[in-house]
Point group: C3
Chain length 138, copies 3
């Protein structure tokens, strides 16, 4: 069994951003030399997500608006913010969108359906944060 | 390390359907010959889910009603539908229910609790869509 | 390839509780002797979650309040409860928080960001329920 590890770093301009990281994940798979296995991609921070969906700008605006409705930013709404933070909402948004994805690797490639793309979902940005890629297989 | 790959195909009669695929996943595990490992089961389409819960009709109606409340179908609500689609809601519903499950394989079987069953969750059906099963182990 | 399996048992005092299980998962990783691989941690019951977030009391109260808003306990709201259950809400809450996490193991340790902690999320407690840890790697 082989394994491969890589970190991706992000510092977004906006508090909330959705970034297509598919090329970075594909690159890591090539670097790993693994042909058959599983690829874990996870946010290393608890106010961010990694998820798979469509790379369509309108949909991404829909996601942002929907998440804001389900878990509004308003810092006065969350006990967590009594610690001095203002990102209570980001911890909730991340649970809807998920921490991680696990992707099959087949024949040295991400084994994806026609529209699947991997995204980093940032809900409390404007500082350095990381994504972990861990690949195991042969 | 061994690996095994299989696709399941679906074309539902209704736009929204929840289908028990546990027997198909169990069959794939037997076909793989893998005794100890991990089994990834994921929707290959971005308006569908794979999730684990109870096979109880009332609960499934509850899920459908709840998801419709959290992300109503009404096509006029979503920017994504300006592309000509009418499935913006399905991209949101899928995020609640999740893209994938990872299941332990122990002694050649899905290592499940007493009520765990695997479901395909279709939120924009009536066309051919796929689920991927990828198993690695020994 | 090596594999390791362990169960954790819980019987909470309250219907809803969030319990930090990071030390238990770390212990299982040490017991496994696996240095590089993947660690699956999943609820074996369908009204409970395993998730990764922050160990901060205020945030946990925020989660409970938010989940109660998204899926209120009121047993009269759910068809599932016509079966004699009163836990319809717990099946919904668990979908928001997720069934499982997959964690990278690097150099014999959980490969975590600075604040990542693993939690058992109980939404229908006061009885014996289990979490499964399955580790594969080398």
């Amino acid at each position: 069994m082989k394994s491969y590890r890589k970190e991706l770093w992000f510092s977004t301009d906006e508090r909330v951003e959705l970034i297509n990281i598919t090329p970075d994940v594909e690159k890591a798979v090539r670097e790993s030399g693994i042909k058959e296995g599983l690829c874990l991609v996870n946010a290393m921070h608890i106010t961010a997500s990694v998820f798979i969906n469509d790379d369509e700008k309108g949909l991404h605006e829909d996601y942002k608006e929907w998440l804001e409705k389900l878990a509004p930013h308003d810092p006065s709404m969350y006990r967590h913010n009594l610690t001095g933070e203002d990102n209570g909402d980001a911890h909730l948004k991340r649970q809807i969108m998920g921490r991680e994805v696990v992707i099959a690797i087949t024949d040295g490639k991400l084994d994806f359906g026609p529209w699947e793309q991997v995204f980093y979902g940032e809900f409390d940005g404007r500082r350095n944060k990381r994504v972990l890629i861990k690949i195991i297989g042969e």
